[in-house]
């Protein structure tokens, strides 16, 4: 029996599944917005702003979900400062500690960019605030926020690998898998929400990078299964969870959306919508299976 089977489950369940999903979308949305801000064209602005608008509420909801998951929620601030002295607490070797700071920093950048975007469209009385998204300041905020976004999207998988639990700690690939899935689900949500206000060029590009992320995700998912070894795969995934992974993630969440991206007329006008909805569903099921299949051992 592999050594990881002598351990106890931490009961990271529905709060955490929703956090992994929503936090991933938040981080991915900002990362995409930052890419378009830095390398895109002026007509991409609606999608850039939408990326910020998705990122900020996502990270706020993430913080609430994470706090609710604690068995002592009123002590949530112990993640950031020492409980008695209030001196900042940071352990660079603990994914949970680094993650807490990453989420906090990401929240700050998402807030700044959201304020900038609101000022840009005249929804805030202080138009000067639109400088947060312009020039060097905008570049710095988007670079830093984009890096934090990628971090939030991927660290959750690293956190699972830095345990001793079956499946999670039997592969170093979960961080990469969650990062790719966060990117694809974020692109899908941007496509879904932004389809009315964005230019066709932006949507075209989103659909392209979504396809790329899905292809990479499929390859990495295969590598995850191969890397955990036959004993772990048999014990953890040769059951209903494995079926859900195949049907819900591989088929419905990756292959069908790829087909719809490739042949957009297959379902008529509903194709892009259907593809995006399926990518979101697949991303959610991926987290359900990755968490609950190991919890069940």
């Amino acid at each position: 029996m592999p050594d990881t089977f002598f351990t106890e489950a931490p009961h990271w369940q529905w709060w955490i599944i929703w956090y992994f999903f929503i936090g991933g979308i938040g981080g991915g949305s900002y990362a995409i917005a930052a890419l378009l801000h830095i390398f895109g064209e002026p007509e991409d602005r609606p999608i850039v702003r939408l990326g910020y608008y998705i990122a900020l509420p996502s990270i706020i909801v993430s913080g609430i979900l994470l706090t609710l998951d604690l068995t002592r929620p009123e002590r949530f601030y112990h993640m950031l400062v020492q409980s008695k002295t209030f001196v900042p607490a940071f352990k660079y070797w603990s994914p949970m500690s680094v993650g807490s700071w990453g989420i906090t920093l990401f929240g700050l950048f998402a807030f700044l960019s959201t304020v900038g975007a609101l000022a840009e469209t005249g929804r805030l009385p202080w138009s000067g605030l639109s400088r947060l998204n312009q020039g060097t300041l905008g570049l710095v905020i988007n670079l830093a926020g984009g890096l934090c976004g990628f971090f939030v999207a991927g660290y959750t998988g690293v956190l699972l690998s830095v345990t001793n639990r079956p499946l999670w700690s039997d592969t170093p690939l979960l961080g990469l898998l969650f990062l790719l899935s966060a990117f694809s689900t974020a692109a899908a949500l941007l496509l879904l929400v932004g389809r009315r206000r964005a230019q066709p060029e932006s949507l075209e590009w989103l659909s392209q990078i979504d396809s790329w992320a899905l292809i990479l995700e499929l390859v990495v998912l295969g590598a995850v299964i191969l890397s955990v070894g036959t004993v772990v795969a048999r014990e953890v995934l040769f059951n209903a969870w494995g079926v859900l992974l195949l049907v819900g993630v591989v088929l419905a969440g990756i292959l069908v959306p790829l087909l719809l991206h490739w042949r957009p007329r297959l379902l008529g006008a509903a194709s892009p919508l259907g593809a995006a909805a399926l990518v979101l569903l697949g991303g959610f099921i991926l987290r359900v299976v990755m968490l609950l299949s190991s919890e069940a051992v």
Binding site: E8, L36, M79, K91, V162, Q208
Partner: protein
């Protein structure tokens, strides 16, 4: 720092009386599991079943019978936190609730713990769990309070057969070696020490066993969770870099394609004008 202290548990003399479990619960004021309602495991005389937030000592019964049920063997082992020299729980704890004491033991400060449960999944032995009474992660403290007053931990004090021995690690290691030697001379050649320096830098609560670790529900090669940190983080960073590059290249290509298309249109228009 005081001398490293710990437990040496000689499983060959354990009689399964569970005095250690009771002494631990009494001293640490741990409530009965399930509010004292007695539930039976149904497949074993062991009804404690596992270590958790309210059970910091657990006498495992390993009941082995052959097919015909003519031959039987009972192994007993009083399980507890191993107080690893390289402790996975301490590594991952984000709040600093888990500390190493002057006795080289590992203690969770329940006034600091916020119940994130990272330590539960990090422990290679499945020792830690949440105590539902106060909602924080709890486990054996090696009776830190008693040790500070020069007392023996409650379990070792209560053990009637000296299966659980408490003392300075160096002394316990020597005693354990002598006991293995003695058992080998008596013909029990399977006896060996589980938890020397080859396991997580040494377990400050180590065992004398007479069968494979797995038979006792122990991993044969427990590892630190941090073995995965660098590879997992690097792979994720590489993924982020790849996606960033993908974004850059695809957006550049889009711009170049458009410029080329614009130039073509301009050229056609120019051509049209000159014709006129």
């Amino acid at each position: 720092m005081a001398e490293p202290m710990g437990f040496f548990t000689d499983t060959t003399v354990c009689i399964g009386c569970k005095a250690c479990e009771v002494a631990c619960k009494e001293w640490n004021q741990l409530p009965a599991t399930g509010g004292g309602v007695n539930t039976l495991s149904g497949d074993s005389y062991d009804n404690t079943r596992r270590l958790d937030g309210q059970t910091w000592r657990h006498v495992k019964f390993i009941e082995q019978f052959d097919e015909s049920r003519q031959q039987s063997r009972w192994l007993m082992m009083s399980d507890v936190c191993k107080h690893c020299v390289q402790a996975g729980c301490l590594e991952v704890c984000p709040t600093g609730a888990i500390i190493r004491t002057e006795f080289d033991t590992v203690v969770i400060q329940s006034d600091v713990c916020n119940g994130c449960r990272a330590c539960i999944s990090a422990c290679p032995f499945g020792v830690i769990d949440i105590n539902p009474v106060n909602g924080t992660a709890m486990k054996c403290t090696l009776c830190y309070d008693r040790m500070q007053a020069g007392l023996t931990p409650a379990c070792a004090q209560a053990c009637p057969t000296q299966s659980i021995q408490f003392g300075p690690i160096s002394e316990l290691r020597a005693r354990a070696e002598a006991r293995v030697q003695q058992l080998h001379e008596q013909g029990e050649t399977r006896a060996y020490i589980y938890g020397d320096e080859s396991i997580l830098g040494g377990l400050n609560s180590f065992y004398l066993l007479v069968d494979e670790p797995e038979v006792y529900g122990l991993p044969s090669n427990p590892k630190l969770p941090s073995r995965n940190t660098a590879p997992a983080a690097s792979l994720s960073a590489a993924g982020a870099a790849a996606l960033g590059l993908l974004g850059l290249v695809s957006l550049r290509k889009r711009r170049m394609d458009r410029l080329a298309a614009d130039r073509k249109v301009a050229a056609t228009e120019e051509g049209g004008e000159s014709d006129a």
